[in-house]
Amino acid sequence: MEKTIEIINGLQKEGLIRNYAIGGGIATIFYIEPILTYDLDIFFIPSEEKRITTLSSIYDWLRKKGYKPYKEHIVIEEIPVQFIPVYNELIKEAVENSADKRYGKRKTRIVKAEYLIAIMLQTFRPKDRERIIKILDEAKIDMNYLEKILQKYNLKEKFDRFMRLYYGE
């Protein structure tokens, strides 16, 4: 995975993406016990001048390095990676405010737990609900920070309903 991160960092160095953060299941694993997932989700902010063609330029650059697409992913050093352009303001903000972390010797960025909760409240698939519960139970959450995010993106009411349903609060 170190090599995978090195390659993803290379995309940023080359100016193909402006910023990125690990999201999805792998970001969730950073905060909770390991859960089953098969891909590495990368949320990215496109470079200004390459806003439209970014996905294809990312794929072209990676193909030139010998990495091949696999279903909706591209396999980088044996790990299927899915590149997802920030598709709304919440996700863009989550990437901008992501946490600097290290995996082995490589620097990387991971979406903060509070933003993960907000994003999962938006997507709200059964697996998202399960993961929200696990994050709330196992991770240290800054509830004031979370509340600010939820209010900004009109998710507070949904979160309160969720808490009443699963925690009786």
Binding site: M1, E2, I29, F30, Y31, I32, E33, P34, I35, L36, T37, Y38, Y70, V75, E77, E78, I79, P80, K101, Y103, G104, K134, D137, E138, A139
Partner: protein
């Protein structure tokens, strides 16, 4: 009556211990968690009978 109360307490302790176990796993270093993830992927693929549904297992 006393026996039932004892049993209830034991179950409560059991769940508390399980909760602590999950929290301890959550505190593992990220790199260790990724190693565990790969074991999970291998286990899940091992019990998947349909080869079409088998997923690519990570190599790190």
């Amino acid at each position: 009556m006393e026996n039932k109360e004892l049993q209830r307490q034991e179950i409560k302790d059991l769940f508390k211990a399980k909760e602590l176990f999950h929290k301890e796993l959550a505190k593992l270093p990220f790199e260790e968690k990724i190693k565990i993830l790969i074991h999970l992927q291998e286990i899940a693929n091992g019990i998947q009978t349909s080869s079409k549904k088998k997923q690519r297992i990570w190599k790190i």
